[in-house]
């Protein structure tokens, strides 16, 4: 009996497409009009918004700031998270389940709540500063709020759980027998990790890195709350331009820039993944 499964798609696909194209169309269209005071916009379209973004050092600096913050976040999440993911993936136990649940929990909680905690933990008389002062590492309490480091910390908290979950799934795809085979051949665990597991995981890790990078480029909450008004990343700038400055055209152009960047990164990651997959299939 042949069921026309494809027919099921029609209604939801139309809805999805309408929402997708409808929403993207309007703001993109708006971005081609220059904003005038008091919420009015210019009568005829122009590329002025875009040229301003690409030539104004302020916008370029914002893009650079957002980029290097996102790179740091992705590096931290993958760097600190991979050992966790690997150990959890290789040694299933009751502990593993519990720890993974704790990790999933952090992504079930809205970032704002994490930031409440971060602010208290990092304040001048909080545990971190007290410890640093006691150990003599600093002679005055320091603050991370209003610095790029603070935004990076907040974003790491936001993405760490997700990163670990992603890498956990990746490591799980590598059969344990490979580790065992390497061990039989006399490799130490460290060598096995470095020469066997890591190269196989690499495409997945790159995808994880790029995904977290992308998410951080578009992340708003941490930057807004921990940036202290000084660290204005692209998403924060977009929100301010739209809601506070009420410049719909410029906000649309900035959003288009962000969108373009993110989509480009996605294509790059897919291309890398495909290339590695084909290489891997060739060698295994």
């Amino acid at each position: 009996m042949k069921t026309r499964w494809g027919m099921l798609l029609i209604v939801p696909l139309v809805v999805s497409a309408a929402l997708l194209f409808g929403s993207q169309f309007v703001f993109l269209k708006q971005s081609f009009f220059v904003d005038l005071p008091f919420g009015r916009k210019a009568a005829s379209w122009s590329l002025a918004n875009y040229t301003r973004i690409l030539t104004d050092p302020y916008y370029l600096r914002t893009l650079w700031l957002t980029t290097y913050i996102s790179l740091a976040v992705a590096a931290a999440c993958v760097g600190f998270g991979f050992p966790i993911a690997k150990v959890l993936a290789r040694r299933p136990s009751r502990w593993t389940t519990f720890l993974l649940c704790a990790i999933v929990l952090t992504s079930f909680i809205t970032t704002v709540i994490q930031i409440f905690g971060i602010v208290i933990v990092f304040r001048a008389d909080g545990p971190i500063n007290r410890a640093l002062l006691a150990l003599g590492i600093v002679d005055r309490p320091f603050t991370i709020i209003g610095t790029p480091l603070g935004v990076i910390v907040g974003l790491v908290y936001a993405s760490f759980g997700f990163g670990v979950m992603l890498m956990y799934a990746i490591v799980r795809t590598i059969p344990v027998t490979l580790d065992e085979a390497a061990a039989i051949h006399g490799a130490t665990p460290l060598r096995t990790l470095w020469r066997v597991v890591l190269p196989l995981c690499l495409p997945g890790l790159i995808v994880a890195f790029l995904t977290i990078f992308n998410t951080s480029m578009g992340a708003f909450t941490s930057a807004a709350l921990l940036g202290g008004g000084r660290v204005i990343t692209l998403p924060v700038l977009i929100q301010r331009t739209m809601l506070l400055d009420v410049k719909y055209g410029m906000a649309g152009a900035l959003a288009a820039l962000l969108l373009l960047f993110v989509v480009l990164m996605n294509f790059v990651s897919i291309a890398i993944l495909r290339r590695f997959r084909s290489v891997r299939l060739a060698t295994v």
Binding site: M1, R4, W5, M7, L8, L9, I10, V11, P12, L13, S16, L19, L20, S23, Q24, V26, P83, I84, T97, L99, L100, C101, A102, V104, L105, T106, I109, T110, T111, V112, I113, Q114, I115, F116, G117, V121, Y157, G161, F162, M165, L166, A169, A182, I184, H185, G186, A187, P189, R191, V196, T215, G218, A219, T221, Q239, G252, A255, L259, V262, V263
Partner: protein, 313 residues
């Protein structure tokens, strides 16, 4: 993989007198060395885990702990939270602003609605994409997956402007209403259901359905009795993530909410900027408690693997 540091493959015939070193070679000295190495390694691993998880969970612990912390100065309500708490109290819970409680309930109901709608849209989509035979599947798949790529800020701004445009044309404004928020969140949440159900469907053996057909069941009956139960875990996980996406969202809600329709994260966000006091920690702890329960329940229902699936591409 020749330079992998792995000892050369042993020849089939043992060469006389020549034996490559192997881990299993047991001499008294080397086994003790191995034992010490393992213990050292385990110690380092455990220490690393403790550090990472302490750091990871510290903010949450501080929030929940701080919500019970009594202010040192009785007369004055301050925005300063005493941590570690010197005295415990429940007063912050009693003082949770009515607006925050209302927003918490609103977010909960909104999340349920979004989850439901995402399933209504997502399950047929997944079925159509996996089982359907037609050209243009990659395009359809791309359209459906697209919201995952779009940063939430961009979605927020896009929908706000869409609603303005629609309102200007048709007279019906949905920005700042529950309906507007709902639409925006469904847009963000549906791909999670689709991905999750697709993953389960792809692993499902279609012959089970064929068998049901052969045994005389109608397509609807087959769907209800065979397919649906089998994809249920995928639907559940997808629905769970759809709920979470809506429940924790800040950027889109910031654009699409209004004093009429405010979500809980937006209330907390505003309270952090404007009106911070420990009663916000109390309501945040309520939400955190709810999340803990959710994780626990989900883990029981679909197991850990089910819980982690939708995040994969």
């Amino acid at each position: 993989m020749n330079n992998a540091g792995i000892a050369p493959h042993p020849s089939p015939l043992p060469a006389s007198g020549e034996r490559e070193p192997s881990v299993s070679e047991a001499g008294e000295g080397s086994s003790v060395r191995v034992l010490r190495r393992i213990r050292w390694r385990t110690l380092v691993t455990v220490a690393y885990f403790i550090v990472i998880f302490t750091v990871l969970l510290a903010p949450l612990v501080v929030v929940i702990g701080g919500s019970f912390s009594a202010p040192p100065n009785e007369r004055v309500v301050m925005s300063y939270v005493e941590f570690p708490p010197k005295r415990l109290t429940l007063e912050w819970y009693a003082r949770i602003p009515h607006a925050q409680l209302r927003a918490l309930g609103f977010s909960f109901v909104l999340g349920l609605g979004v989850s439901f709608a995402a399933c209504l849209l997502g399950v047929p989509t997944a079925l159509g994409l996996v089982r359907g035979r037609f050209r243009g599947k990659p395009i359809a798949s791309a359209i459906v997956r697209a919201p995952l790529q779009i940063p939430h800020v961009v979605s927020g701004i896009a929908f706000l402007q869409l609603f303005y445009a629609v309102g200007d044309l048709g007279g019906a404004y949905v920005q700042g209403t529950t309906a507007g928020l709902f639409i925006g969140h469904v847009f963000m949440a549906t791909p999670f259901v689709v991905g999750s159900v697709m993953a389960v469907l792809q692993r499902m053996n279609p012959r089970l359905e064929e068998a049901a057909c052969v045994l005389g069941a109608s397509p609807w009956r087959t769907f209800r009795r065979v397919t649906l139960p089998l994809i249920a875990p995928g639907v559940f996980t997808g629905a769970l993530y759809a709920f979470i996406v809506s429940f924790v969202d800040v950027p889109v809600a910031l654009f699409l909410a209004s004093p009429d329709a405010t979500t809980f994260p937006v209330e907390l966000f505003n309270s952090m900027e404007q009106d911070f006091n420990p009663s916000s920690l109390a309501s945040a702890s309520l939400a955190a408690g709810f999340a803990i329960v959710l994780v626990f329940v989900a883990q029981r229902v679909v197991g850990l693997d089910g819980l982690l699936k939708p995040k994969t591409q």
